[in-house]
Symmetry: C2
Subunit: 336 residues, 2 copies
């Protein structure tokens, strides 16, 4: 059982503690940043969803990895939670004049990341190697960022209106997630292998965090990479704590279509409905006081509810929430 750091928040206290966070984009990157701030000196690995990667105009785009990179590098546009701060859209405007597809927001600065990744992939580099290089160039320290897999996985959703399958980004960005969906599928997931370092990090983890990300299109692909869900379970079996943070507060999300998707896919659109997606994994699940009444339903999923203000207001809010989770998990026996 991982020891409680002598001085929580002190570097010495967290040395030797290994934390693995599974994360999507905006919410996941905020919580990951909170963990880094709240556990300085810990060994923090963030495994990021690549299921919503897409190829557009010949460029390979990895939205969640980029959001994580920008957030941890401190250059993300804090207001919207993704993309580099101060980005411009001169290229996109020119593309529109040429009659090109412009439903996906491509900022001039953001494009540099896509160009660099695409070029390096074409030269035979892997996503994980490229991610490590980007992290280094962006000056990211204190966190290892791993894409969930170096193998391409793509998320497609079936629209309820006409049964048509579209790429997740076409639904999410192109249709602003405003149309109901029926099903989600992950192309390439069955054949995908965990990126180098993913299983190793889970094998060494004291704490595995399921970040406040979309359970269906952010965490399900990560947990669906063959071997990953089993590795999380194994970590738990050898004494690591597995804790989730609800992306839903009062039945709604801060960002993204998770609430709608829960209902559309036949689940309860609440924090308890999210916890149910990870019932085989969770030791603890953090929910907002507004959802305190769901505590029993969370408990029924086998997870100890942690009730705390789940809204991350700015960087201090991220760190506060992460600190709450760390204290409630690493600070006391995780299971009776």
């Amino acid at each position: 059982m991982p020891r409680r750091p002598a001085e929580p928040g002190g570097r010495a206290g967290w040395a030797g503690v290994s934390i693995v966070a599974l994360a999507g984009g905006v919410g996941g990157s905020r919580f990951a940043r909170g963990l880094r701030a709240a556990a300085p000196g810990a060994h923090l690995t963030v495994v990021v969803n690549t299921g919503d990667d897409l190829t557009l105009h010949g460029l390979r785009i990895s939205p969640d990895v980029d959001t994580m990179l920008y957030a941890l590098a401190g250059i993300v546009d804090e207001a919207r939670g993704w993309g580099p701060r101060g980005d411009s859209y001169r290229c996109l405007a020119a593309l529109e004049r040429l009659g090109g597809e412009t439903w996906f927001q491509l900022g001039d600065l953001d494009l540099a990341t896509h160009l660099h990744r695409t070029g390096l992939l074409a030269s035979g580099r892997t996503s994980s190697g490229i991610t490590a290089e980007l992290a280094r160039c962006l000056g990211i320290t204190g966190t290892v960022i791993l894409p969930m897999s170096d193998d391409p996985v793509e998320t497609w959703v079936q629209l309820a209106e006409d049964g048509r399958w579209v790429h997740f980004q076409e639904y999410f960005v192109g249709r602003r997630a405003e149309v109901p969906i029926r099903k989600v599928r992950f192309q390439g997931l069955e054949a995908a292998r965990p990126a180098p370092g993913v299983l190793e990090a889970l094998a060494a983890a004291d704490l595995v965090v399921l970040c406040p990300s979309n359970p269906f299109v952010s965490l399900a692909p990560i947990l669906g990479v063959p071997g990953v869900r089993t590795a999380v379970r194994s970590a738990r079996n050898r004494g690591a704590v597995v804790a989730g943070v609800s992306p839903l507060i009062g039945g709604g999300t801060v960002k993204g279509p998770a609430a709608r998707m829960l209902a559309e896919l036949g689940h309860e659109p609440t924090a308890a409905g999210v916890a149910a997606q990870y019932a085989d994994l969770l030791d603890a699940f953090l929910i907002d006081p507004i959802d305190a009444a769901l505590g029993q339903a969370v408990q029924a999923q086998g997870a100890r509810p942690i009730v705390a203000d789940a809204l991350m207001r700015g960087r201090r809010g991220e760190a506060r929430l992460a600190r709450v989770l760390l204290r409630a998990t690493l600070g006391q026996p995780a299971r009776a």
Copy 2:
């Protein structure tokens, strides 16, 4: 023999006259624009070099076609002769911060063209179809722009310093053409087919113009596409006039490494040296008064020298030079 238009410069006068210009980038686009201005109502087809196309960061870039598009659309940066006016380099600066390759200038506006072309190529469209669509979106009228081929051709040069072969753009842009070269080769040229419309345009031409472009890396690839050189000769045999314009004035070029390359590849670095590259084709060759003494050498190549101020100063200068060529060729019997 094509008739002299009743009123040179009047639209009625040029109706029914077909002109085909073979062109590279900056000089070629300026002369093509001059032809359009000087022969309103003529059927003008510009066949553009694609031998210096390249793939960079996963994007397919067609520098000469883009220069031609921007110039004929009136949006080119007139000072440097290529790229859209008012372009910015925010993406390139971000790419540099990421440690990416930045030797090739990629403007934020220019990138839109590369993205659109790359996306359309990936969807199975041809270069010629894409070029036509770009021309339409940019509002180009009065000129048909054809890439020389829809098949990929790449120009490589051998550096004299170490015998290494590099892509032409790496020499031209990356090394600023400041290092001597030994040889030029065109990958894919033997298997390339003329783009749809190229041979048809030549078969209907009253005048074929070899624009003031680099003879080795702009016009040689076009003439080297199997069938093109023969088609130019056939046009001449049935009475069309074939006329060139020297890219060299007083042994130097306005832009680009043509003069250096002539010397490095063992040719006379003069207008006559350029004319010698097309000795089998030319009826007439326009040289600058400063090169008047080369008239005999040009004549020795079988071409009638046309002596006129060959420097294109602005758009009026382009039209003036084109008018001189048109009068000296279509206006009188081309050959005795």
